[in-house]
Symmetry: C2
Subunit: 145 residues, 2 copies
Amino acid sequence: MNDQSEILENLRRNGYRVTPQRVMILAVMNKHGGHISAEEVYQQIHAVHPYVNRATVYRTLEMLSREGVVTVTDLGKGPVHYEMHTGEPHHHLVCQQCGQIEEFDHALLEPLQKSLERKYKFQPRLEHMAIFGRCSKCQVKKTKA
Amino acid sequence: MNDQSEILENLRRNGYRVTPQRVMILAVMNKHGGHISAEEVYQQIHAVHPYVNRATVYRTLEMLSREGVVTVTDLGKGPVHYEMHTGEPHHHLVCQQCGQIEEFDHALLEPLQKSLERKYKFQPRLEHMAIFGRCSKCQVKKTKA
DNA sequence: CTGAATGCAAACAATTTGCATTCAT
DNA sequence: ATGAATGCAAATTGTTTGCATTCAG
């Protein structure tokens, strides 16, 4: 039993219905791997199955994130991005110049997490955060602004 | 010469025109102190001077942030917030339960900044970032979800 | 069968834009 | 007087919602 059907089985067990739409959405998410917007998921499915509705994609992705199957990342600009939940929390470095997104390790956020808890008694939700700035390539280019 | 007119003088020097709208918007920002949305700025001004337009408020705040007079913080949910640029970078802890926003010191982000630069050659823009989670008060309350 | 899920269209929130008019310089 | 800034209305983008219909269980 692969990931795909295991997830579907779990959803069914949690009282959700396994519809063709949900299967297709999960398939796209699985195949894609990286972060993807609701609109992109919709486009990919809609191209092949024109009857599938945008609202369904939004509703399904929202449901999948509630169920912990996918994670949500607000990239600050433009639409929210979804990604299969792999277990390992990881984060995104978003280059504001070229738009490139690379990942970085959760370990780097641990000192921050610790100090926020200690000094402010604040419990941060640091799964999948996005940090904005300039990537290595763009630092070489002329500073335009 | 206070901050207010100093800023206006600077804008004028940079080729911007000092309009009553811009003066009012700056006044609201100054008086308010904390973070505030474009809509809130608009409401405050519009209540007294109904002819002032929402688009003008948006355009002006955008201009002021380009000029470094105000800073922008994306609080993840709802509208972007603006704040007078005080020089000292500081950050926001946004409680996802009660909505409370408290500030935290830039120093706590320095280890992260350093490690991102060292390990990923990524230059983060860490002025005024927002971190989401649960504040001390809400941690005491029953965990609802 | 029965209610959960879908499709559709319309509403929504936050913001942006085109364009004629106004007004700061 | 001249172009930057405004007001207005309409467009845009990303997302949500109400409701009748459909279909998974």
